[in-house]
Symmetry: C2
Subunit: 451 residues, 2 copies
């Protein structure tokens, strides 16, 4: 939505060629705001405005335009401007940008891009989402093994302007097989006559382009790397992933886990860029599935309908008991899921965690039982107090156990344990909580049993 | 818990001085496993084993020992070994290590550490948790402004072995005021006679040591920095934070948000290192608070007890309706909380989000209403179908709205919106869901009104 108050002002600044003020605005406002109020400009005007910002800024603003505006900017009269922007951008960023556009627009655009760049784009775009290839860049610095340090530094000087980083330089043979890595630090410290082959670290940590991008994040974090080389199945170097892209992967994966935990299918474009349909679509699936899972709880209530009718005071404590169960289970599951995701605990340590959590579960259960027994007593006397307290103890203990074990079991079954964990555990907690509550109630007070 | 099967084997390897096999084991096993089965060794034996590993590995293994073992290793006969390890470690890592120990042990240990290092440790340890100072390191590379590139590279060669990074070099005056930054890339590309002052980027992005560590993460991500300089209130340089430490901060903050969302107070040591008491302690608080918040729901049920008693079939749909409300609210809140945390949406954009979510809420509500009306019809006929469907529509719409708005309101009130968000919203959803359900039920069927 364009801001009608600012648009005329912006237009007049453009007409007056008031570059100072426009540049200032471009650098000071959030790219989202710039996109917001420049949306009403024509394609020509928009490119005129964008060209005043540094390349990275142009790209950021571009990503904040709605899809239709992006398509306009990249087709028709905008094609030429777009292609020259693409030629100057870093190799991984431009692929990210192109992925936002429709295939047809990209196909019309690419012929205008220089051939070498075009092939690079095609290669990078061919990697599937969530693979290492989809986050890597091809503009890395490389050296043959048999040059001297002096020669190497001279070569690096030539490669520096185009390379994403020159702090790690990859040593490759003529067929581009990855032989080793040498840091600029080592080059600076080495004697000028030394040969790269003797200086390099052989067999460096690397990842394959078709691996999961989470693997890259794990390796980079483990070895505190600045960049990691990416190879194909023949150990030929095809790119690098740098620390800032790894940071983005870590952030996106955490966001995905947050969403999964709340039963939201991962959004491809982030919340800010997602419209009503994707948001609906990603949420409704699990909501409807959970309705049916919830029928188990309804079934338990139906089975004990007579019990409930005979002692309607029991209904008073229903939300309290099932929610406490859900809360306890979610807490436990969240702790385990996150600890597994960060590698803080291993799958094989499940028994150790179990022993610890049995003790935690008992302690939590006893405390909660005391609190709720008191409430039960005030509300309905000794019997109700006993029922509520005892139920709470069993529910908290059980749901804690479910919350602890479920992530281990799901991980073992190669299912992401974050998937819908909180609502799923809440639902399981409901059903088991109701069962425990009604069973204990029928024991303690003389009520009609299940019909 | 030590593994009694492996301990004798380990002891015999140590006695035989079989360093090859021990080193192999140290590098191949996870530090946690090494800590696990070497726990039974004496202090002397443990240090003998540790000294075979590289420094970083020693430190990792150390952190996996239980507290009591760590104290033993750092006091008595272990003091000397520990102090020499501390002298060789990087400045930020050793402070992290010392923070795990009791003050008394640290006080006994520090006199054995070289004076300059000791003062550095004291200074770094004095920063409060969650500040920039607590994650920075003091071993950075610095240059005066008036040296030539050649001279600068020569100085860097001398600083390189001790510095955490030499890829960014900070230009400071005699009083250590931060004047600028120059990258090693720029130094390599510059003419050898050029003066640093002309080459450096002035007024670099920096953070203050007492700022929140989250600020560092945000700045580093924004500018894709490798390292960021840390200054005091007089702009005197006191340290740097490097990209790998930023990655740790991001990971820890995400973990904290995961825990907060599930109503767990942040763990100081991570799940793997937390015993039963801290785990109990961090969880019970919110669980008990939520019991009392839940009394609102109980109150609603109590108010409509007669309605429920008169039409006990309504109980069948209780879990379904309140859980769906909770799930919808949690989904919405999670989306907003995460988008606010990653900076994808801004606080000021609340109205834009609201408009979008009104549409999403209606769509979700209508779909869910259809599904549950069908269930209601099968179970209890037209009237029940109508009640359940209509209630579901209102509940999903309302809880979605609550889930969307609550994070904005909490952020505005300077409360972390992640705090207990899921259980809190579930509880609010329960109370409002019950109220909606019973109100609609009393409208549709001729039931006794609230007594």
């Amino acid at each position: 939505m364009s801001n009608p108050l600012l648009l005329p002002e912006l237009r007049s600044l453009l007409a007056d060629k008031n570059e100072t003020e426009l540049r200032e605005m471009l650098s000071e406002l959030h790219p989202a705001s710039v996109a917001d109020f420049s949306e009403g400009l024509s394609v020509e005007e928009t490119w005129e405005l964008l060209s005043l910002a540094p390349i990275e800024r142009q790209e950021e603003i571009f990503t904040f335009y709605p899809h239709s505006k992006q398509e306009q900017l990249a087709s028709g009269v905008g094609r030429e401007r777009m292609s020259s922007l693409l030629e100057r951008m870093s190799h991984d960023d431009r692929v990210d940008l192109l992925k936002q556009l429709d295939d047809e627009v990209v196909d019309n655009l690419l012929p205008l891009v220089a051939k070498a760049e075009r092939e690079d784009i095609r290669r990078l775009m061919s990697y599937a989402e969530h693979t290492v290839g989809s986050v890597m860049t091809t503009d890395y610095a490389a050296l043959p093994p048999d040059v001297s340090v002096d020669d190497a530094v001279a070569r690096l000087r030539r490669q520096a302007p185009a390379a994403e980083t020159i702090y790690f330089v990859y040593v490759v043979d003529k067929e581009h097989h990855l032989l080793g890595v040498v840091s600029l630090r080592d080059l600076i410290l080495a004697k000028s006559g030394a040969i790269i082959r003797d200086l390099m670290q052989s067999d460096p940590v690397s990842v394959q382009a078709d691996q999961d991008r989470e693997d890259v994040a794990r390796e980079v974090a483990k070895y505190d790397l600045l960049a990691i080389p990416v190879v194909d199945s023949q150990n030929r170097m095809v790119g690098i992933v740098t620390h800032d892209d790894v940071a983005d992967v870590v952030k996106e994966e955490a966001t995905e886990d947050f969403h999964l935990t709340a039963a939201i299918a991962p959004l491809t474009k982030g919340y800010g860029h997602s419209g009503i349909w994707p948001l609906y679509h990603r949420r409704i699936g699990w909501l409807v599935i959970l309705v049916f899972v919830n029928l188990v709880s309804s079934g338990v209530i139906a089975a004990y309908e007579d019990v409930l009718a005979a002692a309607i005071t029991l209904a008073f404590f229903l939300p309290l008991l099932i929610d406490s169960g859900g809360n306890t289970g979610s807490q436990a599951a969240t702790l385990i899921i996150r600890a597994l995701a960060t590698g803080e605990i291993q799958l094989t340590q499940w028994w150790k965690v179990l022993v610890k959590e049995l003790a935690v579960g008992i302690s939590l259960g006893l405390t909660m039982a005391l609190a709720s027994a008191a409430l039960g007593y005030f509300r309905g006397g000794v019997e109700i107090g006993l029922i509520v307290g005892l139920s709470m103890l069993c529910i908290v203990f059980t749901t804690n156990l479910v919350g602890v074990l479920l992530p281990f079991i799901l991980t073992r079954l190669k299912v992401d344990p974050a998937v819908a964990s909180s609502p799923l555990i809440t639902t399981v907690a409901d059903a088991s909580g109701l069962l425990i509550y009604f069973t204990i109630a029928t024991w303690v007070i003389d009520l009609p049993t299940t019909s």
